[in-house]
């Protein structure tokens, strides 16, 4: 296991060093896209912590929205620095995850039913944000009070600053993914995903394991939401909360490959690059094209590539040496 850990850490260090060089060679526009891919990749990675163990949540739009709104609201109305506002948002998202997760896991709400409960959560969060328009700005969204370059307010007009933050947070997300994948709890969560009753019969505390991964996933998602709102300096219920965002998260994680560390980030390439390409090539002639294409691609991925793009590449790479050996003539 130590060798495996060293190999994974080594690969991550090399990837981080390469990505750290990106600002030196790209335009602000490319950096803007890269920041979004990294931050959304972090959010998708957070979702896959649950998704790969069969906990398909369609409620992550709610956790993202809480994280995205908490910090700007506390900043605008209470003058509270995002350094405190972000943790408060994360705690609020964890509390919501506990309120939803505990009864679901207690009553063994699993599979499609769990997805439906969490789907409702997404919509409730969105409607709440819209209904509280006096403080949230409703459907029009809201803007944190801008103060220019400030560490206290976590506001940086210069893109390289936020690129460095996004890269650090993305690396943190990948480390958490590996921590869960290599850790003791992984086998327990795999067992729970297959058969809760059999897992409990050998001593696995099903409720505790599921809640742990759910709270971790919700916390990281809220953190991602908070950083997205700090970066955009604008929050809108449709772009950072609700069912649409939840579906985008699920699509990206599945398309990229939720069983691979880099899969969800690869999903970020789709969800960020695709709308950009459509916007540049089609302008406003085909509004809603991205969602239509997401839907079509999701069907194709689930049928032909259930382990996502990265999963497919990994399995091809794993199969290649085996084929090579089998072709060698017998001695």
């Amino acid at each position: 296991m130590k060798n495996e850990l060293a190999r994974r850490l080594g690969a991550l260090v090399v990837a981080t060093l390469l990505l750290a060089l990106v600002p030196l060679a790209t335009s602000d526009y490319a950096l803007h896209i890269a920041i979004q891919i990294l931050l959304w990749g972090f959010v998708y990675t957070a979702w896959s912590l649950m998704g790969k163990f069969g906990l398909v949540s369609l409620g992550h739009g709610a956790f993202l929205g809480i994280g995205a709104y908490a910090s700007p609201l506390l900043w605008n109305y209470a003058g509270l620095t995002p350094w405190l506002g972000i943790p408060i948002g994360i705690l609020a998202a964890m509390l919501l995850a506990l309120i939803i997760g505990y009864p679901c896991f207690r009553l063994r709400v699993v599979g499609h039913y769990f997805a439906l409960v969490t789907l409702a959560l997404s919509q409730v969060a969105l409607l709440t944000i819209v209904a509280a328009r006096d403080i949230t700005g409703g459907s029009l969204g809201m803007t944190p009070k801008a103060v220019g370059h400030s560490w206290y307010a976590l506001q940086f007009p210069e893109k390289p600053y936020f690129y460095a933050i996004a890269l650090a947070v993305w690396v943190f997300g990948i480390l958490i993914w590996h921590f869960v994948d290599i850790g003791k709890g992984r086998a327990a969560l795999d067992a729970i995903a297959e058969d809760e009753g059999a897992a409990a019969a050998i001593g696995v505390d099903v409720m505790r394991e599921k809640l742990r991964v759910t709270l971790a996933s919700a916390a990281l998602t809220a953190f991602g939401g908070a950083l997205l709102s700090q970066y955009f300096m604008y929050v809108n219920p449709d772009t950072l909360s609700g069912i649409g965002v939840s579906l985008q998260i699920v699509f990206a994680a599945i398309a990229g490959g939720m069983y691979s560390a880099l899969g969800p980030t690869a999903g970020g390439l789709f969800t960020i690059a695709l709308p950009e390409i459509l916007r540049v090539t089609m302008g406003t002639n085909f509004v809603g094209a991205a969602n239509t294409i997401y839907g079509a691609l999701l069907v194709i991925f689930i049928i032909f590539m259930p382990r996502g793009v990265i999963g497919l590449i990994e399995s091809r790479l794993a199969a290649a040496p085996a084929r090579k050996i089998s072709k060698e003539p017998a001695a």
Partner: protein, 240 residues
């Protein structure tokens, strides 16, 4: 070791188990038999924590365990197997048993200790640790069930239909294995079984259930001669 008293379970208006009481002594093998729908599996599930009793008491080594969650009961030293094997196919064979070794002991074992326990359990049931989980036959899957239960370090084992789906030679082997587990590891066993012949040879005492009620408790030879048992369970042809 185990005291069950007035145990009942109702599903709506249907009484699956009605006021069943019995005690289990340390080191014995108790057979729990009865025709289909007699309440054997429900009784089993109530003791193992897979279901909550409607009423009654289950005391394990003096502690009330009725209604406790399954994982807590397992960690107290009461393990079970399933009638139809339920292996975790996402995990390797070794991981299946190591998971039981680790979590059956409150998740506090070091990896090397869990591995040692798992190897001992696999050795006990005669399953090579290097085997893959895919392609395991019915007998091997039953052994895996048993190995997982043993890896949790139980003092009481609830064995659910360990002979089902096996051929004659495999059944003989499985029955002897339960006896070996009792003698070598000192584990007390409650054995639910549909196939009576072998069970009657191995168990110390037998309880017969019918329609959720206990209709007999005593020595296996006495059960075979009991008129009600013969009529209800064995029928005309005397199976097993």
């Amino acid at each position: 070791m185990l005291e069950v008293s007035g145990l009942s379970k109702r599903f709506g208006h249907f009484p699956a188990v009605s006021a069943v009481s019995f005690t289990l002594r340390k080191g014995e093998i108790l057979g729990l038999i009865g025709p289909n729908g007699s309440g054997k599996s429900t009784t089993f599930n109530l003791i193992a924590g897979a279901m909550r009793p409607s009423s009654g008491s289950i005391r394990f080594e003096g502690t009330e365990i009725g209604g406790l969650p399954a994982h807590r009961i397992c960690r107290m030293g009461l393990a079970r197997t399933f009638q139809i094997p339920r292996p975790f196919r996402r995990l390797s064979l070794m991981e299946n048993v190591m998971l039981a070794a680790n979590y059956g002991n409150s998740g506090t074992l070091a990896k090397s200790d869990a591995q040692r326990r798992a190897e001992r359990a696999l050795d006990m049931v005669g399953l090579p640790a290097a085997d893959g989980i895919e392609g395991l036959g019915a007998a091997a899957l039953k052994k895996l069930e048993l190995a997982r239960a043993l890896a949790t370090g139980p003092r009481l084992l609830l064995a659910d239909e360990s002979l089902g789906g096996l051929d004659h030679a495999e059944m003989e082997h499985a029955a002897l294995m339960l006896e070996t587990i009792r003698t070598k590891l000192g584990i007390t066993i409650v054995w639910v079984e549909h196939i009576m012949g072998l069970l009657m040879r191995i168990v110390d005492r037998v309880i017969v259930l019918d329609h959720g009620e206990k209709i007999f408790e005593g020595l296996p030879e006495a059960a075979a001669k009991d008129a009600r048992v013969t009529e209800i369970y064995l029928g005309h042809g005397r199976r097993g």
